[in-house]
């Protein structure tokens, strides 16, 4: 007992309650932060504390490296996670939705972060069992660092500037790592042109993670149709088209690889089969688009104009093969995968930012 540090628990509680009272929280307790803690985070980057990691011109607010560090510390990050948090901000900037006020939208999106490369092992990010779930400090706190910054630096509190109708559970935190070791294909960042020894964060503004059960089949076409069916669901169609990231469990990835399918083969098949019939769209009143917003609505609506597939019975939900990304995550223990429903039509290169090495003086 004598080895334990002596602290005044009443004082600790008082500090933590003060954070709640100030609204500096996502609802869970946050770590108290002192200037010396912030210094430890700032030592992990070559960037200056006043450099801007992301600006929201419409709010006339910006987040500096220092503010990102404070919120990462409050989220429970260790200082060595901070380069990953900064890469996440770079990826979000590159993606471009956040500056356009997506975090204030009624849709209620969350930023899903995907981490690749050696940094996963170095800081202990989970890429295997329960990858979307809880239990791992880097996953839990890196995602939370982004959310706390949205609340504290940009003031995006629910019922105020955050107008999400329902939001989604990933708004607490959403950070996964690719299970590169059990993927039959090149790692996601390598596929997109980065070096295998580098680490990277990909940002995906997302609405849902939809679960796929397929333990029954060894036929790649059957599994790929299950994936395409999930992607094309009419409920996801606010716009004319959608985009998705297929998060394959290692067992499903292996099934495709054994059948000789690479990522492009799967992408091509899903692109071709992710469509709705005109009849299915008519049944839910989404068989046309608004001439003003291009949102889907009924052809009976006075604002409606025909969609891009007008006159066809087959209405694709993906604009191109590149609107589908593929990543391998989770445990190699069952036929379970997921579709991450990403926001917007996409089709270009994903928003990947390299994780910069910490300054030599910090290690």
């Amino acid at each position: 007992m004598t080895d334990l540090p002596v602290i005044d628990i009443d004082e600790v509680r008082q500090v933590m309650e003060d954070y709640f009272e100030r609204g500096w929280t996502d609802g869970l307790p946050v770590m108290p932060v002192t200037e010396s803690v912030v210094e430890e985070f700032l030592a992990m980057t070559d960037l200056g504390p006043e450099e801007v990691v992301l600006a929201m011109p419409h709010l006339d607010r910006e987040c500096t490296v220092r503010m990102a560090a404070i919120n990462a510390a409050m989220a429970g990050c260790l200082p060595e996670y901070f380069p990953v948090v900064l890469a996440a901000w770079s990826a979000l900037r590159l993606e471009g939705y956040v500056e356009r006020a997506i975090w204030q939208s009624t849709t209620g999106t969350a930023p899903m972060l995907l981490v690749n490369g050696p940094v996963r092992e170095r800081i202990g990010l989970n890429s295997k069992g329960n990858v979307f779930g809880s239990g791992f400090r880097p996953n839990a706190t890196i995602g939370r660092a982004i959310r706390l910054t949205a609340i504290n630096a940009f003031g995006l509190r629910p019922h105020e500037l955050d107008q999400a109708t329902q939001g989604n559970p990933a708004k607490y935190t959403a950070c996964i790592a690719e299970n590169e070791e059990q993927s039959p294909w090149p790692a996601f960042h390598v596929e997109h042109g980065l070096d295998v020894d580098s680490s990277a964060v990909t940002a995906m503004t997302m609405r849902s993670v939809v679960h796929i059960e397929a333990r029954h089949t060894t036929v790649p076409e059957q599994l790929a149709l299950d994936l395409a069916d999930t992607i094309r669901r009419t409920g996801a169609l606010i716009h004319e088209t959608i985009s998705a990231c297929i998060a394959l469990g290692p067992e499903h990835a292996e099934l495709f690889a054994h059948a000789g399918w690479d990522k492009d083969a799967l992408r091509g098949f899903v692109h071709e089969h992710a469509f709705n019939s005109r009849e299915a769209l008519t049944a839910v009143g989404k068989d046309a688009v608004s001439g003003k917003t291009r949102w889907r609505l009924s052809s009976a609506h006075p604002d409606s104009v025909p969609d891009s597939a007008s006159g066809q019975d087959v209405v694709p939900v993906l604009t191109s093969e590149q609107a589908v990304q593929i990543v391998v995550v989770g445990a190699h223990n069952s036929g379970v995968s997921a579709v991450i429903e990403t926001f917007g039509p996409r089709g270009g290169a994903p928003a990947i930012a390299p994780v910069e090495a910490a300054p030599a003086s910090s290690v």
């Binding site: 204030q104 003031g155 105020e160 500037l161 006075p302």
Partner: protein, 69 residues
């Protein structure tokens, strides 16, 4: 923005967005800015229902515009 440029402006939103509308106005340093509220919703209403909801708000629109000039 228009108000700052000296152009009288009015912001119209449904009552579901009262809180964010106030928050945005305060953030722009216009705590007295008065958005005109109409009943929610809009998207699921017919043209006639929308017109019925909007008609009573016209008086407020004019009042805010004249007051702002």
């Amino acid at each position: 923005m228009l108000e700052r440029a000296g152009v009288p402006a009015v912001s119209i939103c449904t009552d579901a967005f009262a809180a964010p509308a106030r928050a945005m106005a305060e953030m722009y340093g216009l705590p007295d800015f008065e958005p005109v509220m109409i009943p929610h919703p809009i998207a699921s209403l017919s043209r006639a229902e929308i017109e019925a909801n909007v008609a009573p708000a016209i008086v407020d629109v004019v009042r805010v515009l004249l007051g702002a000039s």
